[in-house]
Symmetry: C2
Subunit: 701 residues, 2 copies
């Protein structure tokens, strides 16, 4: 008899009052297939299913069993049960599953998608805690709906804020949930490769508060349970030449060595691939959107580096490029090399925020000394990398001009209501990507494009899927947040624009203008050296806050140079209180405003910190921002009357700069877009003749 499918069997099971789920039944069948056939009583296995007294059920169970026996390569797993069995093998009662992998980056390769594997949750932020008899899943508010759809609430407590405002109870955080649910005397496991010392600290506190003990497992139970876990990625590692890097690896390594010596350390264990790629002037392709080569490194105070990487990613050219002061080893040798160093009694810098806590453990267990800096200190490489050199700044500026031209061609296309009407969110982002791909230095997107029409624009980290995709003109405001990787720089830009034939409301225009005021006030800020991001974040929100409005995200994040689109240590947010802004940093300036279900506004440009050459009364250098992003800000959404004279001047000057930079490129490639650019960047005047259409104020231009 042939197997008639899961739906059919589920119906039969229901009729026969089977209490087990189909997943559980498949799990049992998997074990039955793995046992020898009972030649004397070939049907005896059916006694394990009470519902098999029903002949139809028995027939279909037999058919399913035969099918599973024929396709042993298709792995049917009860993931949570298998994980718990592996936990029991390791003698632990609980286990923490972060989103991060061994390299602690934003993107993880399929192999490291452990959180998604065990919870089915595909978002980019979250964590799970698995105990013997219960489990919890946790994510932030932006993923609430997705979590409820993907994560099985029978298996997991779902800790995320409610999407509707009625449920105001704050959900538990992972560590609060641990404290509440971990039995006294329990052993709680951590994979010390996928968590940093800083992350472990907070878990440890709560585990001990619950009367439990924290245990470091020597292998991840999920990897053991995950039978069809993909391979680790292999992608070529290529040199990042001096024409883009601006500074030789030798120079960088020497500068790092000085910092190591300064702190009395012998070496630093680096677990963060973006720092390694920057230090060695190489790039890879192991994860989406970020040109990383997943690897570890140990940099020594003599300026040499031991680099631990799957050597199959390296061509002879790349090996030659990194030079003889960079000793190449297999990834598996990292532990042993670090232990050997520790055995010599060396003092090793291990960043508690980015390196796996395992690195600390190895050093300590082998008699070495761990240096973690002062509380709050980050890896010295963070700041070194953040302070871009002139070649990097020039490259980034050049990349932004080419990227701005591509974005403007796209904005020109959707400014035509007839053209806009032919687009959905997904076709729009595909079109934009197509314009970018035409550039010869294009290396990929720097993150998945956020293409949000109408109400979808209000979902801060929206990703359009075939299920959510809607016409671009679903609302009068369309938000597109996108960026790309170029050999000479990384871009990240958001524009919200009016689309279609429905005119934007006065409310939309007012909020857009308030956001723009914040954006401009940051862009034209002048501040003394030593200033951190916090006061600039205040500035970005001021206009909105005056109207009791705000946005639930930071104003700015650091951006790499053909590296990660999100990088430390600098930023513009209420939390940016420890790292002063310094010339050469590249940061985003992106205030926003979101009206749930209606529209989203965000105006994002990248800026670089410059020295004005002037000093304040205390003799401190006065710093300012130079905006790198080159793309028009939609005039149809601006009420110039709400702008100060200085703000308006900044806007007109910016648009003039955009026109000057992009027009030569567009005139060559896309005359229609060039014509659009001229109009879109024309100066705006205050007291522009206003008129009303359908009772809504608008501007004529």
């Amino acid at each position: 008899m042939a197997y008639k499918g899961d739906a059919n069997l589920e119906q039969l099971l229901k009729t026969a009052k089977e209490t087990r789920s189909l997943a559980d039944i498949k799990d049992i069948l998997k074990g039955i297939v793995a046992a020898p056939e009972d030649i004397a009583a070939p049907d005896r296995w059916l006694t394990l299913f009470k519902s098999a007294s029903d002949k139809a059920v028995a027939g279909q169970l037999a058919a399913l069993k035969d099918k599973m026996a024929e396709h042993p390569e298709t792995i049917h797993q009860n993931k949570l049960a298998d994980t718990r069995a592996e936990m029991a093998r390791r003698d632990i009662d609980g286990f923490f599953v972060p989103r991060a992998d061994e390299y602690h980056g934003e993107y993880v390769p399929p192999r490291a998608g452990r959180l998604e594997w065990v919870t089915e949750f595909s978002g980019s932020a979250g964590a799970a805690v698995i105990l013997k008899d219960k489990a919890g899943f946790f994510t932030d508010g932006r993923y609430t709906l997705q979590a409820r759809k993907q994560v099985n609430a029978k298996d997991f407590y779902i800790g995320t804020t409610a999407p509707d405002k009625k449920d105001l109870k704050r959900p538990l955080t992972p560590t609060e949930w641990i404290e509440k649910n971990l039995p006294k005397g329990a052993k709680f496991g951590i994979d010390p490769w996928v968590m940093t010392a800083n992350e472990v600290k907070s878990v440890k506190e709560k585990v001990e508060a619950a009367g439990g003990t924290l245990v470091f497992v020597d292998s991840n139970p999920l990897d053991a349970a995950w039978k069809d876990q993909p391979a680790a990625p292999i992608s070529p590692v290529v040199p990042q030449p001096l024409e883009y890097a601006g500074k030789s690896s030798d120079e960088k390594r020497k500068a790092l060595a000085e910092k190591l010596t300064e702190k009395g350390t012998d070496a630093i264990a680096i677990g963060f691939p973006e720092e390694i790629c920057w230090l060695l002037n190489v790039r890879g392709g192991d994860v989406p959107c970020t040109p990383f080569a997943l690897s570890y490194a140990i940099a020594h105070k003599d300026g040499t580096v031991d680099w631990f990487i799957d050597q199959r990613k390296l061509t002879d050219k790349t090996k030659e490029w990194v030079g003889k002061d960079v000793r190449i080893h297999d990834l598996a040798e990292f532990s042993g090399s670090l232990a050997a160093l520790a055995k010599q009694g060396k003092k090793v810098w291990v960043d508690p925020y980015s390196a796996p806590i395992k690195a600390q453990i190895i050093v300590t267990d082998n008699g070495g000394t761990v240096y973690t800096g002062n509380p709050g200190d980050r890896s010295p490489l963070q700041l070194m990398k953040a302070l871009k050199n002139k070649v990097e700044i020039d490259g980034t500026a050049a990349a932004h001009i080419r990227d701005g031209a591509a974005l403007t061609r796209f904005l020109a296309e959707i400014a035509d209501p007839d053209k806009a009407a032919t687009h959905t969110e997904i076709s729009a982002s595909d079109t934009l990507q197509g314009f970018r791909e035409e550039n010869e230095k294009f290396r990929g997107l720097s993150f998945d494009t956020i293409s949000g029409a109408g109400g979808n624009g209000a979902v801060i980290h929206y990703r359009s899927t075939p299920e959510t995709d809607q016409p671009l003109t679903a609302g009068p405001v369309y938000l597109v947040d996108s960026g790309a990787q170029y050999l000479d720089g990384t871009t990240d830009v958001t524009r919200a624009v009016a689309v279609g034939t429905t005119k934007p409301s006065a409310d939309m225009i007012e909020n857009f203008t308030l956001v723009l005021k914040g954006h401009i006030d940051v862009a034209m800020a002048v501040f003394p050296a030593g200033t951190t991001g916090k006061p600039l974040d205040d500035k970005a929100r001021a206009a909105l806050l005056e109207k009791k409005r705000d946005y639930a995200h930071g104003t700015g994040h650091g951006v790499g140079s053909y590296l990660s689109v999100h990088e430390g240590p600098c930023g513009i947010s209420s939390a940016s209180t420890s790292v002063p802004l310094e010339p050469g940093m590249v940061i985003s300036n992106e205030p926003g405003y979101y009206k749930e279900g209606e529209y989203g506004i965000r105006i994002e440009s990248l800026v670089t910190v410059i020295d004005t050459g002037k000093k304040d009364a205390d003799g401190k250098n006065l710093l300012a921002f130079k905006t790198l992003t080159m793309a028009p800000i939609d005039r149809k959404l601006i009420n110039a009357d709400l702008l100060t004279t200085d703000e308006l001047k900044w806007l007109n000057d910016y648009h003039a700069e955009v026109q000057k930079n992009l027009l030569p490129l567009l005139e060559k490639t896309d005359p229609k877009a060039a014509a659009f650019l001229k109009k879109a960047t024309a100066p705006i005047q205050k007291n522009t003749t206003q008129f009303k259409i359908n009772g809504i104020k608008g501007f004529l231009f």
Copy 2:
């Protein structure tokens, strides 16, 4: 372009002078498939293969990559490299891979076929040692040819005696190889679940002799590396009713409790499923040929038992059967329960020969005391189980009569030269199995039938495969060693018989008769209580040794009662010096003689030890054997002149007994076989008229 297959690509690679193997290349492609696609440079991955400068190679690599991407469920592994990566994760430089699994039995389920997975060796005995840069595989002489065929000598040192006599150098044992190859300071890993304390001891000595340290890993690196590892088997566990078991589980548990109390222990941790199945009067079907339910147990001195088993194997009936004094838990709870016991300061008996050393570790680590008995002592359950009760003995005897009838039907068929000519080794064993299957108490074979024609009969543990299968009449002597599991007992019988039209040589007949003398001398031995197997082993070999001939295996092994066909603690061999034979034991009596490439002779019957009711001069009870196996011994191969009068009388008496027991059964079911039986068991006379055919002495009957 379609993929043209491995052979084609290997040829292309060879032409292009690629230095990597196809397996290594597939491994790299697996990583490439797991990395994001490089949309800007979709062919860049080809730079990782120098040979891809050849366009034909590049095309086929691309086709293979596409094929692998389409079938991610097909797992391509570099098993040894993946195992070493998992070893590195566990920070160990070496790892021991025994054939045994967590239950230390002769048969392992597919899930525990770790040795075969990593070495490709499919035999039933062997071990591997994996170091960082080399590995060794070890097996005994009977598997030499198979090992050379299956195990890749580029990856593994192959430690096994040479099949030809020229290479006389004794190969290294696994522990000698460790001592020789393990680098000083290395950490050598052991999975404490799959090795007993006794096994670990010898490894530890050599590891330390090499200057290394023994480390217990908390999870097996092979399980983590083995991505398509099958599930653990699930097979129904059924009651073994009193009509076959003869003694209630309650009685057995009470008797065990007395032994625990006697030794001052609180409990015993049982890691050997056959002991658990015997103690609880249950049977299962998790491994081939042995009715085991893989599980662990802890028996307490109050007569109760905690049983740790995948509960999905248990029907309500079975749960009810074991009763409330047997507390059922999930398998994963074994560690925790044992730890809890140890935390109470209990003294726990852990057999160093059959329980995983992990059980000792858990007890010790948690403050308990481990009791292992005196040096050489076995688990108390071994002896308890070996001393069969009257119901078991009667059942076994009954099973042997039914089994003998089936075997005699088979012997009758192949005694007809025309019929014999239609058979090969495999068709013959299938036919024999068919006769056994007709019995309603038949539950399966007790081991894979050894069906060896001519020279194949000389391969002691021969298993016929389609490659080695040959006509039954390949030589004049055919050896068949087979057995079955019945609800009331387990059988194991070997007969060597003359087949076909070529008459057996005088040499064959002489050797058969010498083997028979040994068999009879054991069978009719009378010995005082306290006698171990060793003097009986001497008796079995005496006739052969007089002619400077011998056989390279023991003479007898214990046999279970509808349990394992090989069980401890008793045996008949040169090593059987510590366990005295006692009434109720069931043992095999199987001397043999093997002429390489020509023929194999073995005469095996099971016997049970009985009390003669007489005493020797010292007042010790005189014991003897009663032969249980009922099957004719081929008269065509016997030279009665070589037998003593007592031996001949034994043979004639035995054949009379065989006829008496089998004839009623065969007359009903198979008149032809009944006729054969009558002739085959007719009394033999000394000085029987002899005549020569083609110069070879034979007997007329």
